[in-house]
Amino acid sequence: MAVDCLTDKKVLIKGNYAIANAAVLAGCQCYFGYPITPQSEIGEFMSGKMQELGRAYVSAESELAAINMTIGACATGVKAMSSSSSCAVSLMQEALSYATSDQLPVVLVSVMRGGPGLGNIYPSQGDYFQATKGGGNGDYKLIVLAPSTVQECVDLTYKAFYLAQKYRNPTVLLADGLLGQMMEPVTFKPYPYPEIDNSDWALDGAKERDGRIIRSYAPLADNQCVFLERLYNKYKLIEENETEWEEKDTQGADIVLVSFGSTSRNVKTAAKILRLKGIKAGILRPVTLFPFPSKRLQELSNTVKKFVVVEVNMGQMVYDVKLAVNGKVPVELVHKPVGAPPSPEEIAKRIEELL
Amino acid sequence: MSKIIIDKNRCKACYLCIKECPKNLIKVSDQTNNLGNRVVEFCDPNGECLGCAMCATRCPDLAITEVYRG
């Protein structure tokens, strides 16, 4: 069922449809995709809506093609996106590496499912590394936004388009099968960000100016040194300006539970259970996975006795928390390999066992 | 009078143009360009050039930059 793009109206809507709606409202002109569970509703919605609005939708022959079509559209300065899931996002890694080097505002929605390999269609957070560390070659970073509710799927889809344009860097909305498939009430506010002027780099024909080249080929090592320094200065700027996280009850907390995405919903309740039992537990939820709130975690490590990272994978974000805390206090992992997040009671119980 | 203009610094000494000229007016010269290539030269003392542009059409390196027929 494709929900119409209505703004300022509360609707009950599935995460995947919410993301697609938000993309349309954000001004996405082109969508390119290939079906894969659990995100196929995004493409299904787009196929009808984009046609209706006179925008572009292409059923690509593969995810390789889909992400490269997105690169092509982005190179002309329009907002464009693709969406996919885990094993198929693997196919896109090469193009994402190119897109960072090309400095193109590609938006990719990655709705995680179980892996490795074909895995399964259950929710998972097993692609934290894939999104934040990159599966492509060379030194690069993707901006990664992790929603935890369907409303946030909307808000962060808007933000993904904005940040991608603002920094000319591929941006990933990292959701999971649970968020993609669940329904929640959502309000669609109009796209809240300013439009970014890209007339100084977009390809629109070399009229009364020299032809622009969007390329990553850098045959001279010296030039590439300069480029990479500049790219990483940009990432530093992104870290300074755009790091976003949610924090609760961390003042005077003995333990801080760190989690992202759908898992953080149950972690919040788990923290409540722990506090009722007299354990001073706070939570920290990174909203941006790159840039990662390392600085804040570092500050908290001065007052907190222990961090517990809760994730649905074999332990991935835990490494970033450990890096931030740098051995100052213990960092423990409570995890489930794949599937719906552990219940609040189970999380609370396993944390109690750690204390 | 027909003629061709050769940009010696573009010539890579593939010599494809030599065979192409119906009047055999292009020859290997005794000059070397800044790429180190023994370049070709246009010798037409008797004004035989037809201005057919076969040489320029064949040249893969834009070294024959202009052709005039007249």
């Binding site: 390789l64 690169i71 092509g72 559209a73 190179a75 024909g205 969007i214 | 494809l16 052709v67």
Partner: protein
Amino acid sequence: MATQVFKIPEIYRKNAKYTFCPGCDHGVAVRLVAEVLEEMKCAENTIAVCSIGCSVTLYDFLNLDSLEAPHGRALAEATGVKRAKPDKIVFTYQGDGDFASIGLAESMHAALRGENLTAICINNTTYGMTGGQLGPTTILGQVTTTSPTGRNLEYYGYPIKIAEHIALCDGTAFSARVSLDTVPNIRKAKQAIKKAFEVQAKGLGFGFVEILSTCPTNWRMSPDKAHDRVREEMMPVFKPGVYKDITEG
């Protein structure tokens, strides 16, 4: 008063000098594309998509807005460009490995969708930039660095006939194979390239030209002998001709 019958197209970048090997037909192919764009007066409205291999350097020579695609993905990126900006002339310039090996799916599907794009594919029967390995168009018997005793059927299988395959796609408006071995054939090649751009400009579908070219360096031949090889070994297998032209009744 002499009239000028040949000049370098103005859409070349200032002082552009090819970095191709001596005698390489790439230089002629790029010039033909430049001449066609200039004749059609559409360079200012054109976006080029370059591919991986020797063909990538196109953007260094032609003063066009250009995008570089990962290996094999040129027609996917071109699809994205064209769908975003349908009023632009968009073309790819690719080698046979890029077009018909790693990028065969992207190439074929762009043709099947009938994308209003022009694709120019240089077929030199080898991977040139990497040193002359066996490619999708390496002909039977041909010795390359990865077919040291020659391409034999039992071990390597058949080469692909690209223009024929593209002609079979319903979305293709024009598909031809041309050769650059002689000046008359160079002139024919230009006509085919022009047609491949014209069908795009008219919105008729996918325009494609496969250009038989030399790679004297990797074939280990003089540029002149390389053209003999095109005539004697390649053209009997890859027959030049127009394989599809929907504008001809």
